[in-house]
Structure formats: structure tokens, C-alpha cells
């Protein structure tokens, strides 16, 4: 029987949540196409990640485990993943559209001599062919495609599928990570911002823009994010304040920054330029706080407050901190 294969992302022994979202998509495709779900994980010391994956609903977990794979190498991982995809008779290969997914899966698709569709928000199986939808032109349009080559390879936008949970224990197969000549390899990972919640994985994004007037006022954005408790919210920034040097580019949300789809997005002092909206329009709920009642951001926000961020945001921070403390 063929397998819908998920390539899991494990960093420092920890399974990254978007991997479980990919399992959800894989289970859907497996149901539609009559296949099983197998997960491939690469790394060194994968037992904890495999235990978690084993309870995701996947039927099988293949762990390519060993010191040679302690650090990510696009070429070495791709070669090992492709070998396992062939052994698993993969009809589809899915991975999250993360920094690692974007680096790894195109190479996997090339080695499998097949196509790839990236940053996918919906998958399907219709009339014997895999299908996918993805935003193009920074979300100004949606492209629907049908795979004409096998296997179907896709990266999935994070925060777009629910994380899989509640399966029975899957069979786990261990494969020794092959050593050898690495063309590129990660030498060091430097935590930026002291273990902050990654922007694209955060359940809440609090973003600030030029309406904050001065770089030092960004602290109120950080305070509101912190009010949600540890590991929940991340801060984002508009292009204007990144270009002004107030915030690093890694926090920029928009067409030339990051595209985020959190359940809850706060746009504070952000007018809503086309290129910013491209980066956050798929958030489930958008809250805008802006002094200008005519700001375009209010046309796409679910809830808006017209007012001075300097008054509204601290009050909101206090109210949310009280709710979080009460939970």
C-alpha cells in the first residue's frame, strides 16, 4: 500500500508543531486516496519526537537517527528522505512551509524527479489526482493546481491545519543516519530574542506600525504580547518601522517580510498598506487599533477601536492579563 509521507521537523530533539499540522493534511489525503500515513523524522536523539509522532494518528514513523544528523544538512537530509520515500512507496510527500521545509522539500522533489507546490493552504484528491491551493501574488490571488507527476510534493503553510492528536501508537522503525560528505551543514543556531515565540507559530501576533511614533513606544506592543502568558504571542512590525530601523527585519509582517495566519492578530498603529495586508489577511481574527477611522486596516479587521494606541493598548494589556491570570 502506498503512503502519504510527512517529513517531520525536529530541532534539538523537539518536534515542531507544524509537523503535526502536516499529519492532519496527510490523514485527510490518506482517507481520500486510500493510503496510509508514514512520518519520516531526521536528527540525533529522536525518541521523544517519535513518541509524540506515534500518538498523532500516523500509521508508521521512520526515524533516521544518528550523530551524523545532529545538525541540519539540506543535501544529506534530502538524500536520506528520498531513500525512505521510495521504500515507503510515497504517493505524496508533505512538510511544513518553514525555514527547514522550504530548504529541504524542493531538493527532495528534484531528487524524486517530480513537481512541488509550496505554501499550500488546502489539499485534496479528486479524480485520481492530488490537488492543492496556494496564495500567489502575496495573497492577492489563489492558485489551484492539479499534480500531473508523481509523487505529489507540497509544503504547507503553518497555522492552517489543526495539529493531529489522538492516534494509537504507531510502529516505529529506526534507520541509522548515514555519515558522509556534507555539502552544506548548520554549524550553529543562535537563539534570537531569548527564546521568544516564533512569529509564524504564535497563536497571537501583536504588530505595531508607524502610529507608535517612536521606537521606544514599541514596548507597549511587547507588553501586550507578554500579557497572553509565556509562549503564546509574538510581536510583529510593519515595513515602515523595520525600514526606519526600529525593529529587525525578522519581525516584519507583509509581502517582503513574513506571512502569518494566527488565530488572533492585533494591528496597532498600522494603516494597512497592500503589502502589509498580504502578510496577515489570512489571520482568523483581526483586531485593529488606529487613530484614523478611515485607515484601510479597518476594512479587513473583524474588530476595530478608533483611538489613541497610547491609551487603548495599556488598558487592553491590563484586561487581557487579568483574563489570563484567571484561567
Amino acid at each position: 500500500m502506498s503512503n502519504i509521507v510527512v517529513v517531520a521537523e525536529v530541532r534539538g530533539g523537539a518536534l515542531k508543531r507544524p509537523s503535526l499540522e502536516a499529519v492532519t493534511a496527510a490523514l485527510q489525503l490518506a482517507g481520500q486516496s486510500g493510503a496510509k500515513v508514514a512520518v519520516i523524522a531526521c536528527g540525533a536523539g529522536l525518541d521523544a519526537a517519535c513518541a509524540e509522532l506515534g500518538k498523532s494518528g500516523a500509521h508508521k514513523v521512520v526515524a533516521i537517527d544518528g550523530p551524523a544528523f545532529a545538525n541540519y544538512s539540506g543535501d544529506a537530509y534530502a538524500k536520506a528522505v528520498v531513500e525512505q520515500c521510495k521504500a515507503l512507496a510515497a504517493s505524496a510527500v508533505l512538510m511544513a512551509h518553514t525555514a527547514m521545509g522550504k530548504d529541504l522539500l524542493p531538493r527532495v522533489s528534484a531528487l524524486l524527479d517530480t513537481g512541488i507546490v509550496t505554501d499550500v493552504v488546502a489539499v485534496g484528491f479528486e479524480g485520481g489526482a492530488f490537488t492543492a491551493k496556494k496564495p500567489v501574488f502575496a495573497g492577492k490571488a489563489t492558485l489551484a493546481v492539479r499534480a500531473a507527476k508523481a509523487p505529489f510534493v507540497a509544503t504547507l503553510r503553518p497555522n492552517n491545519f489543526a495539529a493531529a492528536a489522538g492516534g494509537a501508537g504507531a510502529e516505529t522503525q529506526k534507520v541509522a543516519a548515514p555519515g558522509g560528505n556534507l555539502l552544506s551543514v548548520v554549524k550553529e543556531i543562535v537563539a534570537s530574542g531569548g527564546g521568544k515565540t516564533p512569529l509564524q507559530e504564535a497563536k497571537v501576533v501583536v504588530a505595531g506600525g508607524r502610529g507608535l511614533k517612536e521606537a521606544q513606544h514599541f514596548k507597549m506592543i511587547e507588553d501586550l504580547a507578554a500579557a497572553f502568558g509565556p509562549g503564546v504571542a509574538a510581536v510583529g512590525a510593519s515595513r515602515a518601522i523595520v525600514d526606519a530601523g526600529w525593529r529587525p527585519h525578522s519581525e516584519q509582517v507583509g509581502q517582503t517580510g513574513k506571512v502569518v495566519s494566527p488565530p488572533l492578530y492585533f494591528a496597532i498603529g498600522i494603516s494597512g498598506a497592500i503589502q502589509h495586508i498580504a502578510g496577515m489577511r489570512t489571520a482568523r481574527t483581526i483586531v485593529a487599533i488606529n487613530q484614523d477611522a478611515d485607515a484601510p486596516i479597518f476594512k479587513i479587521a473583524d474588530f476595530g477601536i478608533v483611538g489613541d494606541a497610547f491609551e487603548v493598548v495599556p488598558a487592553l494589556t491590563t484586561a487581557i492579563a487579568a483574563i489570563v491570570a484567571g484561567k
Partner: protein
């Protein structure tokens, strides 16, 4: 070091997209095209590497319509040595066929480094560089915002979720470039004059069958108009209540 820079001509980022009558492509009427923003960083980095080594060549290549000559001429004016237009009238969106055509061409020229933008802002694929590397058997590092070359080995830095990765990368390599890598130069008059004498090659390319066939290109549903819950600090309780009602708080 012989460097190939892959560029793409794309609709300007402030373009409002309209769908063509075929329901599978954009209506180009009134659309302004420009060099893909991320490709500017790739071209600039190529020129800097050539300057650092004081040797080698920079060839800029694209797959696209004849109108791409404008973007290629601009690249020559900024300092590239040679421009190649692999011409087609098709929309270049399919990763596999594009990477295959580019890899086939790259194999015919001297090349130990391919530089690309991290993604083209039309198809938003972010897959060509690693795809190309796989087909060429080159090392690869993507979305790089800092790059140093020492003795034929690159040290690259790139942002990942919540951290920054330092990657070493051998040559030959494909490197995709992100914002922050450098400040691109613009063409000056001397460069524009010099460009007229530089080699420009145009040859047709067959992209072949697509691995991903377009079913439809549609505009996303507009977000339902929201609600202003109030004005000023007094509106905070109403906002909290609204967020609690839909269970996001």
C-alpha cells in the same frame, strides 16, 4: 568564480491583480512589471563577490518574455558581464519545469555559484533555488541575509523560526538571497553606456509539460467588513467581550 544570477520579471508589488478571461492567469492590462525585489540582492551579492575576488564572471539569466530585456539590460548596467534570455511566452510558475530548464542551461556554461532571490513575488514559490541545487548536485543554502566567502567555502546566516542559523556551504553552490543581505547599487550613466557593448544572448526555451497543472486562478473571498466596537479606551471592555464571544480569548 563564475556566477550565474537567476532573475525574474514580475508585476510590481503595488499591482491590483485582475484575473484574465481564461480563469488561469492574470490580466496584464495596465500592469507594470519590475525586477523581482529579492533578485536585486542576488545580483548585488554576485557583483560584490566578483569584486572581492577580483576575478570571475557574472552572468544574469531569466526565463520569460522578450520584454525581460529591460530587466536584463538594467542588470548589465549595474555591472553584470553577460545576459541570457531564455524566452517563452508562458507564465513561469511551475517549479519542476522551470528548475529543469534552468539546470539544463546552467550545465552548458561555466558556473560554480548560482545566486537567486529567495522567491519571486508573483508565484511566491520559494522553491527554485533548492530545486535547482538538487538537479545540479550543488550545495545549497536558502534565505540568506549574511554571506561571507573564504577559500571557496561560504559561511551564511539565515533566519529560522525564533533563531538564526549559521551554515557552512561548499562550492559549487546555490544561494538564495533575502532582504538585509546588502544594499543594492543602481546603474549609473557609465554603466548604462558600457552595457550596450556587453553580450546579450536570446534563445527560445521549451518548458515542457508542467508537473503542476493550473486548475484555476481566483481572487480570494473578501474579508467580511468588520465592526468598529467603539472609540478610545472606553471601547476596551466591548472588544474583550467580542473576543471572548468568539472564543479567541
Amino acid at each position: 568564480m563564475d556566477i550565474v544570477v537567476c532573475i525574474k520579471r514580475v508585476p510590481a508589488t503595488d499591482t491590483a491583480i485582475k484575473i484574465a478571461a481564461d480563469g488561469k492567469s492574470i490580466d496584464p492590462t495596465g500592469v507594470t512589471f519590475e525586477l523581482n525585489a529579492y533578485d536585486e540582492f542576488a545580483l548585488e551579492q554576485a557583483l560584490r563577490i566578483k569584486e572581492q575576488l577580483n576575478a570571475g564572471s557574472v552572468t544574469v539569466v531569466t526565463i520569460g518574455p522578450k520584454e525581460c530585456k529591460k530587466q536584463l539590460d538594467d542588470a548589465l548596467a549595474r555591472g553584470a558581464d553577460k545576459a541570457v534570455l531564455l524566452s517563452t511566452t508562458e507564465w513561469v510558475y511551475d517549479g519542476a519545469s522551470t528548475a529543469a530548464a534552468l539546470a539544463a542551461w546552467i550545465k552548458t556554461v561555466p558556473c560554480n555559484l548560482v545566486l537567486c532571490g529567495r522567491q519571486a513575488v508573483d508565484s511566491d514559490n520559494n522553491q527554485l533555488p533548492a530545486n535547482l541545487a538538487g538537479r545540479l548536485g550543488f550545495a545549497c543554502v536558502t534565505e540568506v541575509s549574511k554571506l561571507a566567502l573564504d577559500n571557496g567555502v561560504f559561511t551564511a546566516e539565515r533566519d529560522i523560526e525564533g533563531a538564526r542559523e549559521v551554515v557552512t556551504c561548499k562550492t559549487p553552490a546555490v544561494v538564495s538571497c533575502h532582504k538585509g543581505l546588502n544594499e543594492p547599487r543602481y546603474a549609473n550613466l557609465k554603466g548604462i553606456m558600457a552595457a550596450k557593448k556587453k553580450p546579450f544572448v536570446e534563445q527560445p526555451v521549451q518548458l515542457g509539460s508542467k508537473a503542476m497543472e493550473i486548475v484555476a486562478l481566483t481572487l480570494p473571498p473578501a474579508r467580511a467588513a468588520g465592526k468598529i466596537v467603539g472609540t478610545g479606551v472606553d471601547a476596551v471592555p466591548a472588544l474583550i467581550a467580542a473576543l471572548r464571544e468568539i472564543k479567541v480569548l
